[in-house]
């Protein structure tokens, strides 16, 4: 059995005076796994993802990713951690509209200090692999939703992160594009990429992950391995 990439222990998180978004949640994800976090709206899925990504801090418990205590990181440390350890894919792509596809993909590497030429080579390879190389000079506004999400995936993989996090990656796509993205995530996982997908789409979970964790009212109510 491989070592854990993500280890959440008794994590709690509450916002203002509302009910807790997460309560004593413990989750472990091992290298090479593809895990779907399922649950209805308000169940704490996105909070869990934000804690893993170092975008938020828990009120209690510990978050360890790739051996790093993420819950103890400051802003700058968290930024460096995201550069090195995390690739993120968002529901609404979150591409920067004033940068070309290639520049969007290169950005994480350049922020990490990679020379421009090296970043351009790596981005070219990724775009080629993901089948969107011909759009490298285009601006995101001219691409379809599925193409944009492929660009977002390419950007997420730019720094070769050990962990790929995807937040409702098909939520803004039509069915065909959604299936395309699901296939892409599955292929990546088949190549050894650890993937965590937050979704309320059971079909997506079934098509591209081998394990589902279900959250209800901030608690882990099910953790099921499933054949893909």
């Amino acid at each position: 059995m491989t070592s854990p990439v993500i280890e959440l222990r008794d994590v709690g998180r509450a916002y203002d005076e509302g009910p807790p978004a997460l309560q004593a949640a413990s989750v472990t994800v091992r290298a090479g796994e593809a895990v779907a976090i399922l649950g209805p709206s308000g169940s704490g899925k996105s909070t869990l993802l934000n804690l893993i990504a170092g975008l938020d801090r828990p009120d209690s418990g510990t978050v360890t990713v790739n051996g790093v205590r993420v819950d103890r990181l400051g802003e700058a440390g968290a930024a460096r951690y995201r550069r090195e350890s995390i690739g993120m894919v968002f529901q609404f792509f979150n591409l920067l509209d004033d940068l070309t596809v290639a520049d969007n993909v290169m950005l994480p590497a350049q922020l990490a200090g990679m020379p421009r030429a090296a970043a351009r080579r790596r981005a070219g390879d990724l775009l080629e692999t993901l089948g969107i190389a011909r759009h490298a000079r285009a601006y995101p506004g001219r691409l379809s939703g599925g193409q944009r999400q492929r660009v977002a995936v390419a950007r997420a993989l730019m720094n070769r992160p050990p962990l790929l996090l995807a937040d409702e990656p098909t939520g803004a796509l039509d069915q065909a594009a959604g299936e395309d993205v699901a296939r892409l995530l599955r292929d990546l996982n088949d190549e050894g990429q650890t993937v965590v997908v937050v979704t309320h789409d059971l079909r997506l979970a079934e098509s591209c992950t081998s394990r589902t964790i279900e959250l209800v009212d901030g608690r882990v109510v099910a953790d099921v391995a499933a054949a893909r």
Binding site: N94, L99, D103, L111
Partner: protein, 779 residues
């Protein structure tokens, strides 16, 4: 509260930065306008009132009795354009003595009655002289209390005049008045030194009209009969000059403030409309009419502008108090204040301008279709600035910086507004630095402060009651022992002896000081305006005031009389000197036989000399010789202190407004791009990179603003400073205008960048602190 009022109030309180920026910009504009406008209107008021009440003389002319008899002067009353005359009155110039020392010469007019058709003199207190030996002194010149006496031991019969009254002539026609008989007989010659006549003309409002009228008077009399004349316009200018000096620079700041207000208000309201498009859509969707939407946005600008206006009026009035005090003191008028109508005009003008600008900017909000407003997101069109982003992306700089460098091109109008704000800030700073440097040069030139140590006579011992026991001493006629002691003192670099005497210069009745140097005084800090420094005996340099009063020019010969002794000097240069209204003549003392007193010795020390120790040591060496040494004390100037304080305050305000203008622009930009920044953070951008990116986004703006603002400030300085000199009748030395050294210009150029970075710092910190999750959720 109405719905519009509530929206307005919420807008003002939520957009605190914009509210403060508008308030400060209008505060500055109103302060400068109230002050400048008030000074222009009020400074001449006491003179105008007195001039009207006294039928002041448009022209006060002096005549040579040897050329024209008093009875013949009456013919000049029939000159073309003359509507009234008074005179002729006999005039004498006499020198009183006090404790054996001569006082400056005084010019008295003989008038049996203060009332006349022109220049009716107002008796302030006491009585009008009606007997020999009585004198009414003019207020504002030499002040002696009633009952005090002036002794004239040098005149035949050693006459004495007793001050019986104090009086004021609006056109300052004499320093005192005696009876006509007294004026005719005071010098024992049976005749006065001159005659004076006063004229009023049908047309006297301009210098040209006065020249024409004066020429028509002169034409009725023999050639050379008129030995001098004074226009009421010159007198008025002299009266106003204490306040007139402030007007050009206040006008400059007023215009800067007004333009800045318009710019800031336009930018803020346009920014509010641009960034609040969705809000406008919601307001319209719930039933706001276009007019109500426009009113709500105009109100958001007018509320802080009104607050700034009220504070500006108060500040303007407070700042006017010390400036107007001098004018009111001169005329014994009550405390002068800026008239209310000035406040009304300024308030209406500034608020009107703000309202018009806000209306123009908010008009778009009113016309926006509801469906479009709701559909339009807050992020600016990504079409703009793509080329810049591409080019910047290729630069060999960290990505966070190249992202920032491209930002100004995405919002060109907002960028232009920020550049303009910085241009105004840099202009104000450059202007203020230049003005302050010019004032320093003028102050140094005025004080001739190159000498390190001044040697003067030891002060006299004091008798009972602390009064000096005997006349103030002079240095001995033979200063060789003193100069030998100075020469022998280790550390002495150079020195010269200053000799002084009150003098009369042919062609003018104004008191003149003659200063003669023994030794080379060219290093003494006398700043040349034109011509050359004294090259040898027989040459003289004079201040601008002397040239203007006497009508002399460089190259002319002048005859100087001191206690009956005369010498003729050739004017070789014009120097900067404001003391005694510039009525001074500086010459070489070698061979000069006039009765003059040795007043002081100016000493320069070698570099590195301990000045205090040198002065103490020299003082001990000179004490047995009846002299003492003192370090040079720099003279202050209330006017320059006020000018510097006002400049600093207005500049700070303008720079603050410029910085806040940048802050406002960057804040709008940052808020619009908060989602993008969230994405960048999610991709690994550190807080430091976020800050450096935001700061870089204003770097170009700051550099361009500085590059444009500094020359503008220098040009403003080069226009305003000479205008300030002109308003006070002063020609400034070139050194006072050439104050911008290359290093100063370079430093000022960086000032634009400093303003930009300072203005962008808060939004940058805000952007760095904003939680990524919050930013990503923001639409």
């Amino acid at each position: 509260m109405s719905a519009v009022g509530r929206v307005m109030r919420v807008g003002v309180s939520r957009r605190r930065t914009q509210t403060i920026v508008i308030g400060l910009a209008t505060l500055m504009a109103v302060t400068a306008s109230v002050l400048g406008g008030g000074l222009i209107v009020v400074s001449g008021a006491p003179f105008d009132d007195a001039f009207t009440a006294q039928n002041g003389a448009h022209l006060a002319a002096a005549f040579d009795p040897a050329v024209v008899a008093p009875d013949d002067l009456a013919a000049s009353a029939r000159a073309e354009g003359v509507t009234a005359t008074a005179g002729p009155f006999p005039v004498v110039t006499v020198v009183s003595e006090e404790n054996g020392r001569p006082n400056p010469p005084l010019t008295f007019a003989g008038r049996d009655d203060p009332d006349s058709a022109v220049d009716a003199v107002t008796l302030i207190e006491g009585e009008w002289p009606d007997a020999p030996g009585e004198l009414a002194l003019a207020a504002g010149d030499v002040f002696l209390p009633l009952g005090e006496r002036l002794d004239f031991p040098a005149l035949p019969g050693s006459p004495t005049l007793t001050v019986v009254g104090h009086a004021r002539s609006s056109t300052d026609t004499a320093e005192g008045w005696v009876t006509e008989d007294q004026a005719n007989t005071l010098k024992g010659t049976g005749a006065p030194d001159g005659q004076q006549m006063f004229y009023r003309f049908a047309s006297a409002g301009t210098a040209t009209a006065m020249e024409t009228a004066t020429a028509s008077v002169a034409a009725t009399l023999p050639a050379d009969a008129m030995t001098g004349s004074r226009s009421w316009l010159d007198v008025r200018r002299l009266v106003e000059r204490e306040t007139a000096v402030y007007v050009p620079f206040l006008m400059a700041f007023g215009v800067l403030g007004l333009v800045m207000s318009v710019l800031i208000v336009g930018n803020v309201v346009a920014g509010a409309v641009g960034s609040g498009t969705r809000r406008i859509g919601v307001l319209k969707a719930i039933g706001f009419t276009p007019a109500q939407v426009v009113r709500a946005h105009v109100g958001q600008a007018l509320i802080p502008a009104a607050a700034g206006t009220v504070l500006g009026v108060l500040t303007g009035h407070l700042l006017a108090v010390p400036i107007l005090a001098e004018t009111s003191d001169a005329y014994g008028a009550g405390a002068l204040t800026v008239p209310l109508w000035i406040d009304a005009v300024v308030v209406a003008g500034v608020l009107g301008l703000v309202a018009a600008t806000a209306l123009a900017a908010a008009w778009r909000a009113g016309r926006l279709r509801t469906v479009d407003a709701l559909a339009v997101g807050r992020t600016p069109s990504a079409e703009r600035g793509r080329a810049a982003a591409r080019i910047a992306g290729g630069l060999p700089l960290p990505r966070a910086l190249t992202l920032g460098l491209a930002r100004p091109f995405a919002r060109p109008v907002r960028t232009l507004a920020m550049v303009a704000a910085i241009v105004f800030g840099a202009t104000a700073v450059s202007f203020a630095v230049g003005l302050s440097s010019s004032l320093d040069v003028i102050l140094s030139a005025r004080d001739h402060d190159v000498a390190d140590v001044t040697v003067r006579p030891e002060p006299p011992s004091t008798g009972p009651g602390g009064r000096p026991d005997g006349p103030p001493p002079d240095l001995p006629d033979d200063t060789s022992a003193i100069t030998a002691a100075i020469d022998a003192q280790p550390g002495t670099k150079a020195f010269y002896v200053v000799r002084e005497a009150p003098a009369v210069v042919a062609g003018t009745t104004e008191d003149t000081e003659l200063i003669a140097f023994a030794g080379d005084a060219s290093w003494g800090g006398y700043t040349m305006i034109d011509g050359d420094w004294i090259g040898g005996p027989g040459e003289a340099v004079v201040p601008t005031g002397f040239l203007r009063t006497t009508g002399a020019e460089i190259g002319d010969m002048i005859t100087v009389t001191v206690e009956g002794g005369r010498t003729t000097l050739r004017i070789v240069g014009e120097i900067f000197d404001l003391k005694n209204d510039g009525m001074k003549v500086y010459t070489d003392g070698a061979g000069l036989t006039l009765p003059m007193k040795n007043a002081s010795v100016a000493v320069a020390v070698e570099p590195g000399t301990d000045l205090a120790a040198y002065t103490a040591e020299l003082g001990r060496a000179l004490k047995p010789l009846g002299a003492g040494a003192e370090e040079f004390q720099e003279g202050g100037s209330e006017m320059i202190t006020i000018l510097n304080s006002l400049t600093a305050a207005l500049t700070l305000l303008l720079v603050a407004v410029a910085g806040l203008g940048v802050l406002n622009g960057v804040l709008l930009d940052t808020r619009e791009r908060v989602r993008d920044m969230g994405v960048q953070k999610a991709l690994g951008m550190t807080p430091g990179q976020t800050i450096s990116g935001v700061l870089t986004s204003v770097t170009l703006v700051g550099i361009v603003g500085g590059l444009l603002g500094v020359p503008a400030g220098m040009a403003l300085h080069n226009a305003v400073v000479p205008a300030m000199g002109d308003s006070t009748g002063i020609r400034l030395p070139q050194a006072a205008l050439e104050v911008f050294t290359p290093s100063a210009v370079a430093a000022l150029g960086l000032g634009g960048l400093a303003i930009a970075l300072a203005g962008a710092m808060l939004p940058a910190l805000w952007a760095a602190r904003t939680r990524t999750t919050t930013a990503l959720r923001t639409e």
